[in-house]
């Protein structure tokens, strides 16, 4: 009888410990995402502005975007689908809620080796009002330590001091558009 009680007690302890661990792991994941909210982003000088199939130095738009609330989305430009379903769609969604003073910026990742292919095949598919900053070696993500496999963490809003205040991609989580709108109205 005593043994049976001991066994039940041990099983109870094991279940309890494993459920505690599980909870802890969940929390640490959330914390990992929330570290985004402490970051201040910079725009490396290696970025180029892509406008009407021409490239300009990033300095040319820095004055126009400094001190403004910005929504930034990182897009991989290695497929037509990325341009149409990501860049164009996000541009359309965010332009409905942005005010005149806010800026929408796309960081467009295109590898050097794919750049000619991109300009020939995909650039004509871009249909966006937002500012497009060409990045040929993940410089924006590397310098800001934003490299992630989670596509949802590649879209965020920064305040006038370039601090991330909200993140998430409304294409995958449509309810987020309401939160972006709330922050912009504030």
């Amino acid at each position: 009888m005593r043994n049976r009680v001991l066994y039940i007690f041990l099983i109870f302890i094991v279940i309890n410990i494993s459920s505690c661990n599980f909870e802890q792991r969940e929390c640490s994941n959330e914390n990992a995402n929330d570290t985004l909210l402490t970051k201040t982003v910079i725009f490396p000088n290696s970025l180029l502005q892509l406008e009407a199939n021409k490239f300009k130095k990033v300095d040319s738009i820095k004055t126009a975007i400094d001190g403004k609330i910005k929504i930034i989305s990182i897009i991989d430009g290695n497929c037509r689908k990325c341009i149409i379903n990501q860049l164009n769609s996000l541009d359309s969604i965010f332009n409905n809620i942005l005010y005149n003073d806010n800026k929408l910026i796309f960081i467009l990742n295109v590898n050097k080796s794919d750049s000619a292919f991109f300009m020939r095949n995909f650039s004509s598919a871009i249909n966006a009002k937002g500012i497009i900053l060409w990045d040929n070696y993940y410089n924006f993500e590397r310098e800001n330590k934003l490299l992630t496999s989670n596509i949802n963490l590649r879209t965020f809003m920064v305040n006038s001091e370039n601090k991330i205040i909200l993140y998430g991609n409304p294409i995958f989580h449509p309810k987020l558009i309401g939160r972006y709108q709330e922050y912009l109205e504030k």
Binding site: D76, S113, D114, A116, F117, R120, N121, Y138, E141, R142, L147, T148, S149
Partner: protein
């Protein structure tokens, strides 16, 4: 009473006959370390004067065709002497004008007539390139084309005769979905229709397979990416063999990748094989498709013979029968083109 006995005996015989027939057509393989040959130190680089984007390789006569699906220049199809690898010419001008290619797909090689049927998914047509004209005129543009049949269009193909093409076709379900079927295309009227055996369990995404037609051996092969499976059928479309790997139907979430390309070398089937995750992540945490580093060799009855490990990831290969060479486009070598000399026996 007597009738019942006879009926019972016949029923047993019938069931037994059916079972043995199915078993004869089902082959199972498992790779063996003792049958694995490493050829990583036997790869010979092919140094070309052109910079080539990711490419698909074909052989016609004495010519190696390198077709870029990520082109770096204005032309997408490059011809080399297959014996010396000396550059001959390029064709397939990219553009929107007449005879120009919008977006290049696979090529159907008609060896008998010296014709390349080049798919153009931009213009949704298949262009007829005459090899003689390509060799004589570097600004050659094809004039003949057939439309890609919109509901069922062949994406991997083999030329059966002057008017029929067999291959694996995309069947469009709706804007976001498709599955694949074996199909035959009539070149004269440009109409494709479903054709031949398809494994009943390889449906939906699992129906995606590579295709090789062998007219001289009277069969065609499908090698499946998301099933550990190859099928061999005769030219009437009837099943000869289903060749099952150890993971057959284990890959329920399609996260694993198995067969890529398939071809014929001597009297054997050569298939590139991954047996690993379908997607990997690079140092920038971006997903990319896995690619094979080894070949599995089977005889024409579907029996596993050996494994050939190249030690390098490659995305495409072709077989030069005359020189006993397997030519590959590598993912992870400085020179993307290279070959190995291969004698299976």
């Amino acid at each position: 009473m007597k009738n019942i006995r006879i009926f019972s005996v016949l029923l047993v015989l019938f069931v037994f006959a059916c079972k043995s027939n199915t078993d004869e057509k089902s082959k199972y393989f498992e790779e063996k370390e003792s049958k694995t040959i490493n050829v990583s130190d036997k790869i010979i680089d092919i140094k070309t004067e052109l910079i080539l984007g990711k490419s698909v390789l074909y052989i016609i006569d004495s010519i190696l065709i390198v077709e870029e699906y990520r082109p770096v220049d204005d032309k997408v199809i490059h011809l080399f002497n297959k014996n010396t690898f000396k550059y001959i010419t390029s064709t397939g001008i990219l553009g929107k004008g007449p005879g120009e290619i919008g977006r290049c797909g696979k090529i159907g090689i008609d060896i008998k007539n010296g014709v390349l049927w080049v798919q153009d998914h931009g213009k949704r047509v298949m262009w007829k390139f005459l090899l003689d004209s390509v060799l004589n005129n570097e600004m050659y543009k094809p004039t003949k084309k057939i439309p890609l049949y919109k509901d069922l269009f062949l994406v991997r193909l083999g030329i059966l005769n002057d008017s029929i093409v067999l291959g694996k076709a995309v069947h469009v379900i709706d804007n976001g979905h498709f599955d694949m079927h074996m199909a035959k295309l009539n070149l004269n009227i440009g109409v494709a229709e479903k054709y031949g055996y398809g494994h009943p369990m390889a449906v939906g995404k699992k129906s995606n397979s590579q295709f090789k037609l062998s007219v001289e051996n009277n069969f065609y092969i499908n090698s499946y990416a998301f099933c550990d499976l190859m099928t061999i059928c005769n030219l009437e479309g009837n099943l000869k063999y289903n060749i099952y790997g150890p993971d057959w139907l284990k890959n329920k979430d399609n996260r694993k990748d198995y067969f890529h390309q398939v071809n014929i070398i001597d009297n054997y089937i050569i298939a590139s094989y991954v047996d690993g995750p379908a997607f990997l992540y690079d140092k920038n945490k971006r997903p990319y498709g896995n690619s094979p580093s080894r070949f599995l060799i089977f005889d024409f009855k579907g029996n596993y013979i050996k494994t050939i490990e190249t030690g390098h990831k490659f995305i495409n290969f072709c077989v030069d029968d005359e020189n006993n060479r397997v030519i590959m486009y590598f993912n992870d070598r400085e020179n993307p083109l290279g070959y190995i000399n291969l004698n299976i026996d």
